[in-house]
């Protein structure tokens, strides 16, 4: 029994301790000129779909959930965001070359088509981020159009 008590105390102390670790937050006030929505002049329905379903992890501005301030959730989220941004950052879209853009667009279409994005772990909490069937075909159609002009 004593051992368990000691372990419990250690875990508790560690848990409290890690709350003091600071992480940088992925937030910015301005929309850069290289932004995907801006560059491609997305209509409002597409714009809101992209922002709700993609931009939290694939742009320089995340709408953080309330629980993000609790460690180790923060780490987990920041990790996700930095991975997501490394793969695709809509805020810096127009810095990519034509070839890279075409290549990314193709991957975006495939990911949405295959229901691989948005991630299920994300839509679990962000129910509104899930694409309905109609939304899915709308957004794929729009992205396909952009791809055709590349």
């Amino acid at each position: 029994m004593r051992r368990i008590k000691i372990i419990a105390i250690i875990v508790l102390v560690a848990f409290v301790g890690i709350q003091f670790i600071q992480t940088t937050r992925n937030q910015s006030d301005m929309v850069p000129e290289t932004d995907f929505i801006l560059v491609n002049d997305a209509p409002s329905d597409i714009k809101s779909m992209l922002q709700v379903s993609c931009y939290d992890c694939h742009s320089n501005n995340t709408q953080y959930p309330w629980y993000n301030k609790i460690q180790p959730v923060t780490w987990f989220l920041e990790n996700h965001i930095s991975d997501g941004k490394a793969e695709l950052n809509f805020s810096e879209w127009d810095l990519l070359s034509n070839r890279r853009e075409a290549s990314k667009l193709r991957s975006i279409i495939k990911q949405i088509e295959g229901d691989e994005m948005p991630l299920w772990s994300y839509t679990l909490i962000h129910n509104d981020a899930k694409f309905s069937k109609e939304e899915k075909s709308t957004i794929i159609k729009w992205i396909t159009q952009i791809k055709a002009s590349h």
Partner: protein
Amino acid sequence: MRNLRVTTGVLAMAFLALTVMSCKDSKKEQSNDEGSHTEMSAFENNSEMNHDNSDGHHDDEEKMYACSMHPDVIGKKGEKCSKCGMKLTEEVKKAHDNSDGHHDGESKKMAMKGNGASQAILNGYFNLKNALVADDNAKAKNLGATLAKSLGNLDVSNYTDAQKADLKDIIEDAVEHAEHISESDIDHQREHFKILSKDVTDMVAITGTENTLYEQFCPMYDGGSAWLSMNEEVKNPYYGSKMLKCGKVQKEIK
């Protein structure tokens, strides 16, 4: 006491799980600079293709586009290829600033085609292709990683500025696809292989190659997909054993 034990257990498990997840290792580092710089001095320079604007005119207002399968067919945006009916999608680069008449690269024209590193890339690409032909997911993973590495080793210093920019762009794209191939299932590998094939084809157009290559084309996979092969005989990397013979040779690259 029981309560305490349960709480402890839950806390410890949650803590462990999250710690493990957040500690998963970050991006692999890319080794760009190690490795073969051996036969670097010898390379082909396709100045004929890229230097023909010595008249100095750069009318950039109207971009021209070429067919992705038939680069010699050129037209305006939205037009279709006269040979295959596909949309003209490849922007034709109005090449660089050499209106002063100096063609630095041209004077260095070498007899040998290709260089060591680009040959290593091609070999890696063909090995990968063969693994896909054989439906071998695990082998393709390894070969994808190998290819990503040899792509990083391509030395572009001997090319003209415009070629350098193109090559860097191609390599960056190709590395990403090769890396994805090193960690996906076979369907994904094939999707990435399609774009990788285009990248490698574009690379060969700049670097040249020692061997005769065959550009082959399968009209069925994903609305039509091309790949390169050393052999004239068609073995389809997009379908493997399911439709091994689907496709035809559409171009010879020498």
